[in-house]
């Protein structure tokens, strides 16, 4: 095993650990906001570690850039989705205006 593949394996294992922690959080946390908190931390960081590991394994700069792009798009979509869900749970609307008192 080369240094690169060992590093990649460690990164992938760390990423998977984040996913497992996030899933446990989703199942165990009491309300929607703390569940979202667990999920986003886990998914974004976990996906980041996974992407790093897989990019390192692929050994091709072209694939690494593509994987980085996928991670970035997933990050943007996840943050917006999470924000919308959280706001909807908070005041029952997805409006940009201030929540009704």
């Amino acid at each position: 095993m080369t240094l690169a593949s060992i590093t990649a394996s460690v990164l992938i294992v760390v990423g998977t650990a984040f996913y497992i922690a996030g899933t446990v959080g989703l199942l165990r946390f009491p309300d929607i906001h703390s569940r979202l908190h667990a999920l986003t931390k886990a998914d974004n960081t976990g996906l980041g570690f996974l992407a790093l590991g897989v990019a390192l394994l692929s050994g091709s700069p072209r694939l690494a850039v593509l994987i980085a792009l996928v991670w970035l798009l997933a990050l943007i979509a996840a943050s917006v989705a999470c924000h919308l869900i959280a706001r909807y749970a908070l005041d029952g609307t997805d409006s940009d205006s201030e929540p009704r008192a």
């Binding site: 943007i76 979509a77 924000h83 919308l84």
Partner: protein, 309 residues
């Protein structure tokens, strides 16, 4: 890898069971979407990337969106009809009988068919040079089995026409634009990469996994995203151009087949030098028609309009 495949197969069975036993319709739909994603993963494991792409884009993506859209339009009550005695349990009985018959037939098919050395697959691979494309799946779909694919386009068109007739007419703008800037901005940011990926998939079909159906489904997905974020809406009026685009795939496919009869002597046979450009032309026109048909199935309207903010 045996472990991964085993877990995958077990999960597929569990999810399939969940789809038919889930307490609520929404849970069943979610289970079905996840089932589609895992099926796509299974096709990857079976080294069938073409099927994996199609399953992920159509089976898990668009079908899921269609089911969720239907679920939203169902009346809150009346989902669980209790049928009177003679019909009660009929649904389950018919489904069980159908499932059993299918299982028996599949078992028979697996038992009866021994792979033959000179089967169609081998012949097709041997003739790949004549097909004008390097990707065997595309060669079969657009050239060796072109007639079949043409009829599939007809089926898709018929399905759309049927859905539009059956569907209760929606009022214009019934899909209200969300009162937030976040999701439209996200859609605007994501639109260029999605269009790029869709067009690339259509183009790539000539030499690697991809093609009109996969690319068309991704393009339709871009349209669904625009409709969901309120940038595009279904309209009850349709223009001639839209109908033209819906029929474009079937028209181009048939025209190419008929016009070249004097040259080649056969319907849907292509002359040697022209195969590759013809394949690309047909593939792109098919993709446009597929994308539009799938998008209109989602909006449930005969036309589309840009929303004015």
């Amino acid at each position: 890898m045996m472990l991964l495949d085993g877990v995958l197969a077990l999960l597929l069975l569990l999810l399939a069971g969940r789809c038919v036993t889930a307490a609520s319709l929404l849970q069943a739909i979610v289970a079905f979407i996840v089932l589609g994603l895992l099926l796509a993963l299974s096709w990857v494991r079976l080294q069938a990337p073409d099927l994996a792409l199609a399953e992920a884009a159509i089976g898990a993506g668009l079908l899921g969106v269609l089911l969720l859209g239907t679920w939203r339009h169902l009346p809150a009550s009346g989902i669980h009809h209790e049928f009177p005695w003679p019909w009660h349990g009929m649904k389950q009985a018919v489904s069980a009988l159908g499932g059993l018959a299918l299982a028996v037939m599949l078992a028979l098919a697996l038992h009866e068919t021994a792979p033959e050395p000179a089967a169609a697959g081998e012949t097709a691979l041997a003739q790949l040079d004549a097909a004008g494309v390097k990707q065997p799946v595309t060669a079969v779909l657009l050239n060796f089995r072109a007639y079949d694919t043409l009829l599939e386009m007809g089926v898709l068109l018929m399905a759309l026409i049927g859905a539009l007739i059956v569907r209760r007419p929606l009022q214009d703008g019934s899909r209200i634009a969300p009162a937030t800037l976040l999701s439209p901005s996200l859609a605007r940011l994501f639109l260029p990469p999605i269009l790029l990926i869709g067009l690339y998939l259509v183009w790539a079909g000539a030499y690697s996994p991809g093609g009109a159906f996969q690319g068309g489904a991704v393009l339709a997905g871009a349209g669904v995203m625009l409709a969901l974020t309120g940038l595009l809406r279904g309209a009850s009026v349709d223009g001639l151009w839209l109908r033209g685009l819906l029929a474009l795939g079937a028209i181009v496919f048939t025209t190419a087949g008929v016009l070249l009869v004097p040259v080649t002597g056969h319907f849907m046979a292509y002359p040697d030098g022209l195969v590759t450009p013809l394949m690309v032309l047909i593939e792109f026109s098919l993709a446009i028609s597929i994308a539009l048909s799938l998008l209109l199935l989602f909006t449930g309207t005969p036309g589309l309009a840009r929303s004015r903010p």
